[in-house]
C-alpha cells in the first residue's frame, strides 16, 4: 500500500511539474482568472445584485469549466499515447490504477490551485458586506467537485485517442450533456417518447442540480455521492479503455 501511494505521488509530481514546465499552466491560470472576473463582475452583475454572496461567481462555473477543464485534462493520456511514453509507463512495475490516480490527482490539484487563486473575490465580498463564509466554503468545495467530475470525464476521453483535439471535443460534449440533462428544453425533448421515470433519471444526471445544493451552502451526502460516483465511474472506464487498447 505504501509502495502504491509512493507511485501515485511520484506520477502526480511529474505530471504537475510538466504543467509548469510549459506555458500551459500560466496561460490557463491567467485566462481562468480573467474569465472568472469577467463573468462575476460584468456578466454576473455582482454589484448590481446588492447582496453579499458569491452566487454570481459560482453560478458561472459549470459553463466556465466546460471549456477550461477539458483543456487541462485532454493531454493526460492522449499525449502519452502519441509520444509513446504510455509504453514506458505501463511497463513499469505499477498497477494502471496508480498511474490513473496519479495523473487525475495532479490535474485536480492544479485546478484546485487555480480555484484558490480566486481568493480576492472572497476578500472583496467580505470587505463590501457580511457574507456567509460557510456558504462560500461549501461553494468552493462544490466547485472543486464539479471540476473533478469534468476532469474524470476528460481522463476517460483522453485515454480513447492519441489526438488531443478529439479528446477535448468528446469531453466537452459529454460534460455539456451532464449540464443540459436537467434543463427543461432537454427534458421536454425526452418526455415526448420516454416515460416520466426515465426523464426523471436523466434529469438526475444533471450536474447543475447537484451543484446548486453546494451553492446554497448545503453539503448533501447525495450530491457528494453523485459527484464521487461519476468520478469513480469515469476513472474506472479509463482503466478499461487503457486495458483494451491495441497499441500505444
Amino acid at each position: 500500500m505504501n509502495r502504491a501511494a509512493s507511485h501515485v505521488k511520484t506520477i502526480a509530481k511529474r505530471e504537475l511539474s510538466s504543467y509548469f514546465a510549459s506555458p500551459v499552466a500560466y496561460v490557463f491560470l491567467v485566462i481562468f482568472l480573467l474569465l472568472n472576473g469577467f463573468f462575476t463582475f460584468t456578466a454576473g452583475q455582482f454589484f448590481e445584485r446588492g447582496e453579499a454572496s458569491l452566487a454570481a461567481f459560482f453560478g458561472w462555473h459549470p459553463w466556465l469549466y466546460l471549456v477550461l477543464v477539458p483543456a487541462v485534462g485532454m493531454r493526460l493520456w492522449s499525449e502519452e499515447r502519441r509520444s509513446g511514453t504510455l509504453e514506458l509507463l505501463l511497463t513499469l512495475p505499477i498497477s494502471p490504477w496508480e498511474a490513473i490516480l496519479g495523473k487525475f490527482l495532479a490535474s485536480w490539484i492544479f485546478l484546485a490551485l487555480a480555484l484558490a487563486l480566486t481568493f480576492p473575490v472572497v476578500i472583496t465580498v467580505n470587505w463590501l458586506g457580511e457574507p456567509d463564509n460557510g456558504q462560500i466554503l461549501a461553494g468552493y468545495f462544490g466547485s472543486l467537485m464539479l471540476a473533478g467530475v469534468y476532469l474524470a470525464i476528460t481522463c476517460m476521453t483522453s485515454a480513447l485517442t492519441r489526438n488531443q483535439v478529439i479528446a477535448f471535443i468528446l469531453s466537452v460534449a459529454a460534460c455539456l450533456f451532464l449540464i443540459l440533462a436537467g434543463f427543461n428544453p432537454v427534458t421536454d425533448l425526452f418526455t415526448r417518447w420516454a416515460s416520466p421515470a426515465v426523464v426523471e433519471t436523466i434529469a438526475a444526471f444533471s450536474v447543475v442540480t447537484h451543484y446548486d445544493g453546494f451553492q446554497k451552502g448545503v453539503i448533501d451526502s447525495r450530491d457528494l455521492l453523485f459527484f464521487a460516483s461519476v468520478i469513480g465511474f469515469a476513472l474506472f472506464a479509463t482503466a478499461v479503455i487503457l486495458r483494451n487498447r491495441r497499441s500505444a
Binding site: 509502495r3 509512493s6 507511485h7 511520484t10 506520477i11 511529474r14 511539474s17 510538466s18 514546465a21 510549459s22 509520444s83 509513446g84 511514453t85 509504453e87 514506458l88 505501463l90 511497463t91 513499469l92 512495475p93 505499477i94 498497477s95 491495441r246 497499441s247 500505444a248
Partner: protein, 311 residues
C-alpha cells in the same frame, strides 16, 4: 530467465505473432531479427506486459507476465522502439523519475542515476531538457532509463536505431557486456550487430520463427558458406579442373579469382582438402586462398520475404 511458449497475438484476422516459442537464459544475448512488420516489436511488447497475448504465455524469472505482472516487470528493463521520453523534463529529472518509480529513493536513486549517466555517456547533457537533445542523446536517455534498476532482464527494441557509427559501437559493446550477467533480448535489422553482440539469433518473419541458432550456425545456412575462393597466377584450365572435383557443386569466376562451392555443407572440409591437393599436384602458383564463412544478409534475404512483397 525469459520463457516464451506458443505465443500468439492477433489483431483482427491477422496474426502479428504466430505460435512463437523460445527462451533466453542469463548470460545470453539474443538477437531478434526480421523484416519490418515481422512481429518483433509485438513480441517484445508482450514480454514486457504492454500488450496481453492472444494465446500462449510469457514468463520472466519464473513469473507469468499476465498473472504476476508486477513481479515480472520488476525484473525487466525495457527500451521501447521509438525510445520515448518526456520531452519537457531534463535528463536528470527523467532518470530520477524512473529511479523513483523503480523504488530507488534518496541516495539509492542518486547513485542509480549517476551510474547510468556514466554508462550511457550522458553527463554533458544532464541538465538539458530532453526536447533540446539530438536523437542519439534522446535514445541513450531512454536506454539509461531501462538500465536504472540494474535489471536482470533487458528487452531492447532497436537499441542502435538512429545512432551514429561511434555510438552504435558503444551501445553494442554495452549490450555485450550486459549479456555476461543478464538475459538480454534485442531487436535489430542491422546484421553486423548480430556478430558484434549476440550469442544467439532468431529470425522471425510474418510472425513465425524461421531460424534460431548461433550467428555461426545461421551463417552456415548461407549458400556461400564453405566455398573456397582462390587466386592463381596463370593456370587457364583451373576453372574446369576445379569443377571436375567430385565434392564441388559449381565454380564461379570473379575477376581474377575463382570460387568453388561445396556440393553440400558436409562436403566443405573435403572440398578445402581437395582444392589444396589439386593446387599442389598441378603446380599452380597460388596467390590467395580462403574459405568463405557465409553471409548473414544472404541467409536473411533467402528465408524472409521483403516487405515489398504482398502478404
Amino acid at each position: 530467465m525469459i520463457r516464451i511458449e506458443n505465443l500468439t497475438k492477433s489483431f483482427g484476422a491477422k496474426n502479428a505473432v504466430d505460435n512463437v516459442s523460445f527462451s533466453v537464459e542469463r548470460g545470453e544475448v539474443l538477437g531478434f531479427l526480421g523484416p519490418n512488420g515481422a512481429g518483433k516489436s509485438t513480441t517484445m511488447r508482450m514480454i514486457t506486459g504492454f500488450l496481453p497475448p492472444t494465446a500462449g504465455s510469457v514468463s520472466v524469472g519464473g513469473f507469468d507476465v499476465v498473472e504476476a505482472p508486477l513481479e515480472a516487470k520488476r525484473l525487466i528493463g525495457y527500451l521501447p522502439e521509438s525510445a520515448p521520453s518526456y520531452p519537457d523534463m531534463s535528463v536528470r529529472g527523467f532518470l530520477a523519475f524512473a529511479a523513483e518509480m523503480r523504488g530507488l529513493h534518496g541516495d539509492a536513486g542518486k547513485r542509480a542515476v549517476a551510474r547510468v549517466v556514466d554508462l550511457c555517456f550522458l553527463s554533458s547533457v544532464l541538465h538539458q531538457s530532453i526536447d533540446t537533445l539530438s536523437k542519439g542523446y534522446r535514445h541513450r536517455t531512454c536506454l539509461a532509463q531501462a538500465l536504472i534498476h540494474d535489471p536482470e532482464v533487458l528487452v531492447l527494441d532497436e537499441p542502435t536505431d538512429g545512432l551514429d557509427p561511434n555510438q552504435k559501437h558503444e551501445v553494442r559493446n554495452l549490450i555485450r557486456d550486459m549479456g555476461r550477467s543478464k538475459a538480454v533480448i534485442f531487436s535489430t535489422h542491422i546484421l553486423e550487430e548480430v556478430d558484434a553482440a549476440c550469442t544467439r539469433a532468431i529470425i522471425i518473419d510474418r510472425g513465425r520463427i524461421v531460424a534460431n541458432g548461433t550467428p555461426a550456425e545461421l551463417r552456415a545456412k548461407s549458400e556461400i558458406a564453405g566455398a573456397i575462393t582462390l587466386q592463381l597466377a596463370g593456370a587457364p584450365d583451373a576453372a574446369a579442373k576445379l569443377a571436375a572435383l567430385p565434392c564441388a557443386r559449381k565454380v564461379e569466376t570473379l575477376g581474377a579469382q575463382l570460387r568453388a562451392y561445396p556440393k553440400d555443407a558436409a562436403a566443405a572440409a573435403e572440398l578445402a582438402r581437395s582444392v589444396i591437393e589439386l593446387v599442389s599436384r598441378e603446380g599452380w602458383k597460388l596467390e590467395a586462398l580462403h574459405t568463405e564463412e557465409g553471409q548473414l544478409d544472404e541467409v536473411f534475404r533467402r528465408i524472409t520475404l521483403p516487405d515489398t512483397v504482398k502478404r
